[in-house]
Symmetry: C2
Subunit: 136 residues, 2 copies
């Protein structure tokens, strides 16, 4: 007989919060396999494994919908690595897009900040920069 654990233990072992495990269930990611007579969620070792996958995928920033797809592929023996890689590549593009946006913000902000003396003077190139709007 398989050992079943409660949501608290599953949380502790995966590093997720019990709150988020319930949330992932509500989002359709992963139903627990059984409930105790009192209604407590009970997870077996396979479910725990999948919760671990969710944790890792979130750590890599995958959104819930993509994790859904990844879990489906993981459990589908007829999957192709092409399908998996496609999802990963898509997410990678998203990440790189965000990095680019942030780097652009950083450059602009750094330029403004570097020109600012940061002293008692009221004159401030940062505010000047923000005021240089391109009103139509």
């Amino acid at each position: 007989m398989e050992k079943l654990i409660t949501i608290g233990e599953a949380a502790q072992r995966t590093g997720l919060s019990a709150k988020m495990i319930r949330h992932y269930e509500a989002s359709g990611l992963l139903k627990c396999s059984k409930r105790s007579e009192a209604g407590y969620r009970l997870y077996d070792s396979q479910q725990l494994q999948l919760l671990g996958v969710i944790k890792q995928a979130r750590k890599l920033g995958f959104p819930i919908v993509q994790i859904q797809s990844l879990l489906d592929l993981l459990q589908n023996p007829d999957r192709t690595s092409r399908e998996v890689k496609s999802i990963a590549q898509h997410h990678l593009n998203e990440i790189e897009h965000k990095i680019n946006e942030l780097q652009q913000m950083r450059e602009t902000l750094k330029q403004l900040s570097d020109n600012c003396s940061g002293d008692e003077n009221a004159n401030c190139p940062i505010l000047d920069g923000l005021c240089q709007n391109s009103l139509k």
Copy 2:
């Protein structure tokens, strides 16, 4: 007499949406100076200027609360550039923190993806990587 414009024109000239201008008002950033008899918001050129500042600051990723502070300083002749620079530096740190997080995701994800053939094979290093969880 100062020329007053409606929210739609203010939106067009700043590049903000009318929706967001109302939202910024509700958030305490910037009240319009007058209302028409029918209740329409009316903005003068100074308000328009401030809306432009909000637009620029959002473009740089400043959160609303910090924009609030920046607007306060902008309109305060007793400000010091030290105060402004402090806010900018704080935001710059936030941005760099986010960049680091994303770059770490990118590296890990890229390694997994590079090892994946992306063909018809079911075997997939990406899924393998996600399964390598550190369950306690």
